[in-house]
Symmetry: C2
Subunit: 187 residues, 2 copies
Amino acid sequence: MASALRVLGIDPGLTRCGVGVVDVRRDRSASLVHVGVVRSDPSMPIEERLAAIAGGIRSVLRDHAPDVVAVERVFAQHNRSTVMGTAQASGIALMLAGEHGLPAATHTPSEVKAAITGYGSADKLQVQTMVARVLRLDALPQPADAADALALALCHAWRRGVAPGGSSETLTPAQQAWANAERVARR
Amino acid sequence: MASALRVLGIDPGLTRCGVGVVDVRRDRSASLVHVGVVRSDPSMPIEERLAAIAGGIRSVLRDHAPDVVAVERVFAQHNRSTVMGTAQASGIALMLAGEHGLPAATHTPSEVKAAITGYGSADKLQVQTMVARVLRLDALPQPADAADALALALCHAWRRGVAPGGSSETLTPAQQAWANAERVARR
């Protein structure tokens, strides 16, 4: 597994923060390392909630030692009531990557959907289905926050070009599906 | 100084994050403990910038051991280009308070201006002038981020009711000005 890139994907949120760790090899095959949701109790003060989110992310960083951290990009213009908590959680996720000396990147939801399904407006079920296929999971990753975190991690490895020398002759069906999605996304 | 409340005020920002520590006694008199600006280099990756902000705030928490942390509230609808960085920095400030076991609070810019000057739409010079007067500073606190952090810290102590038993007979002129501002703000 020495040649694999280990990516921690984080779907930031204050109540539920999805975390997913995958190993992605140069031939684009990927395997699940960890998936979960870090939660904070909405009845707690904001400073304790954010500290709980930070503690959960720190545990994942310590237990699984990723090479890179990918965080979903938050947009201020999405003026949902939760946007500030999401932005604050994303800041903590990025800061913790920096404190651990890890590079971090952000990707938009559309980038993730396009990378995983080939279609930037894919629905959650399509994303979950493709994540399960790529990671050879027996069931769809649950809950959606966890699936999104895995999709983000896979997206990051794939966009970063983990397998610049990959050729379609050596791809498994799932890898071929990825390669096709890549071509579609690039159009 | 045992009866003083030590407040760390934080004006969150990614490029410049104002930090101000004041001791506020029960008679409402206040003194300056520390003021500064934590900076991050805009040319650095976001994860390193946020880690630099966190490191600077941690230093203030360690060196000055505040009792409480007050952070300016950020609004998503202020759709400036910097709003996400400001929100991320505010999340880090609140999280660090939580990790240090300190209570935290947020106050809006209008609340701070009303608390300090008696007028929610006061300009920066009015706020700086009043902060300098209350803290008996020889010059206006500079830069504006630092003055805002001090104003936030004073606002927090004052709104929290540091001096529930204070009477106007025992107030200095600056304290009297505060008390007047309080009455105006409550109308």
